[in-house]
Symmetry: C2
Subunit: 362 residues, 2 copies
Amino acid sequence: MTVRVGVVGLSATGSWASYAHLPALRAVEGFEVRALATSSPESAQAAAEAYGVPLAFSSVEELARCDEVDLVVVAVKVPHHRELVLEALSAEKPVLCEWPLANGVAEAAELASAAEGKHAYVGFQGTAAPAVRYLQDLIADGFVGELVSTSLIATAGPWGGPVGNRTEYLLDKSNGATLLSIVFGHLVDSFSYIVGDLADLNATTGIRRPTVLNTDSGEFVTATAEDEIVVTGTLTNGAIASLHLRGMNDHSSKLIWEINGTEGHLRIDGTGGTLANPVTIRGARGDDVLSELPVPDGYDHHADLVGSPAHAVAHAYDRLRLDLNGGSKQAPDFAHGLLRHRLLDAIERAAETGSRQCIQGQ
Amino acid sequence: MTVRVGVVGLSATGSWASYAHLPALRAVEGFEVRALATSSPESAQAAAEAYGVPLAFSSVEELARCDEVDLVVVAVKVPHHRELVLEALSAEKPVLCEWPLANGVAEAAELASAAEGKHAYVGFQGTAAPAVRYLQDLIADGFVGELVSTSLIATAGPWGGPVGNRTEYLLDKSNGATLLSIVFGHLVDSFSYIVGDLADLNATTGIRRPTVLNTDSGEFVTATAEDEIVVTGTLTNGAIASLHLRGMNDHSSKLIWEINGTEGHLRIDGTGGTLANPVTIRGARGDDVLSELPVPDGYDHHADLVGSPAHAVAHAYDRLRLDLNGGSKQAPDFAHGLLRHRLLDAIERAAETGSRQCIQGQ
């Protein structure tokens, strides 16, 4: 059965929806982009023409209640998630909401509660990426033996600046779309999927570049969202973990990740600040030399999308299709999203208070 | 004026003194190894013959009170430092004591107090190494601009095992010669010399391999010293820092260090778990590509020792000679050693309590 999708946020002038979701939905069998909604009738019409989408709406209510829409995809700025998601849920439609699910943990709890018993999914595409699934299998199959420790260093913009008009809102912490919520959220979700969840943590965060240039306006902007995040702690399996995520830097390593076990070692080098971006995996056991472990055949169903943000998203839609059609439970749901919001909340509390936080129910 | 040195711990069967101090002292002008002391007349005589040292003693008291000894070098296991150092100080002789200065902060405070107004130095050779001095100059000269953040991952044995008869004592925390005190102590001293001192910190530590093989005895040994240390915090200059030091692993990166500033970036790759070992420095500013920055001429006075543990130690003796002869204040003294012991103590407290520790007087 084809899932007819209505996308909220598919702007003709380009957006995450247009360069990640649209090509992914077109690559994955069983989906059809039937409708879109943007903020005005004019922009909706322009997007419908630009992308060849049959139905254009200027309100999510119309989109969600349209009989020709089976799934509502919410891919707009975080501050709008709550309203749009509640609208989709009240129309009794399955919803996929981009990560971060909500603007803070209270809102995430509200949405998770509203979504109970319904099909409500969160856009953690990282765990669907072929390399991430392969890494998860390597660890689960005992490649490194018992996990000893793991260290990760990553870099992601635009926090630390400069920004443009479209990205300036990311520097304002009150919008809930920060280095912590977006990048660290994605990163720690994939990280935990592979090596296990944090049982306790300490955190150090900071705003090291409080003023950055908006290159569109020529004005200097004040950042209230952190551009440095370090989290350390113990995983539920006992391994010692550290993650250091810094804001934009052209020369810093994009992603270095070491996974150390009693029997072997994995080293992952990435091309972007999350594990949804292409990575190189190297590994060694015993007396072996560290050597590349290419992702085996069978993991990548969308090799033509490698290097594009649609690559991981397409695999996430594969997973979602199985859940929607076959009743499997693979796609991360709102309850999972709430757990991750609680983790980010614990990180903020740890950074503010300087006190180790125990993580419940991760 | 030649400084006549008496070395405690120069064993004929090989020791840190024999493969680091002896070649260093022979390479550096202005020093002469005049005497040694070991634990018995027989072993002292054997060492004197093996190394061609004129005077052999089986007690530090004799060595320290010998008129032909101007400087007492204490290079034995940590538990013996206190007694030997106090003996040298009571003989009114300048002393160089290997790091860790003492078995714990209380003992370090006692030694620092006893050394007040005297020539008493601690063996932090890392800060004398050419690459470390060059890095310090690069940062001080503004290569990276204002420091933003810095992340370091390193690996060092034998913690995490296996061990031999000579190294087994390192696994027993009560001996004060641990991954934290030895390796992390050296590492954080060089690190702080280059990028600045920690103002506050959190720590996560663990013993992930509590049982390791002694390959000499064939017995399994229980470790009480940590084999995993993560320290994060804020430097006094505001930069966000993380350091993850893990125990022995053949495949893990020996040392990766990123130093990120407003104007540039440095990346250091090392061949050992401390910065006294050979490193490769790469850097970039603005639109430059990250490229190697070889240590310029003028930093390395003992290029023939590169790759040997004597390399950094020889430079430390250069520095010490200036202090002893010329009255300069370059070599790290016991007061500095006490500060580092206090830092390690704060790390242990942070790990135990989960609470951020403010560092005083670093």
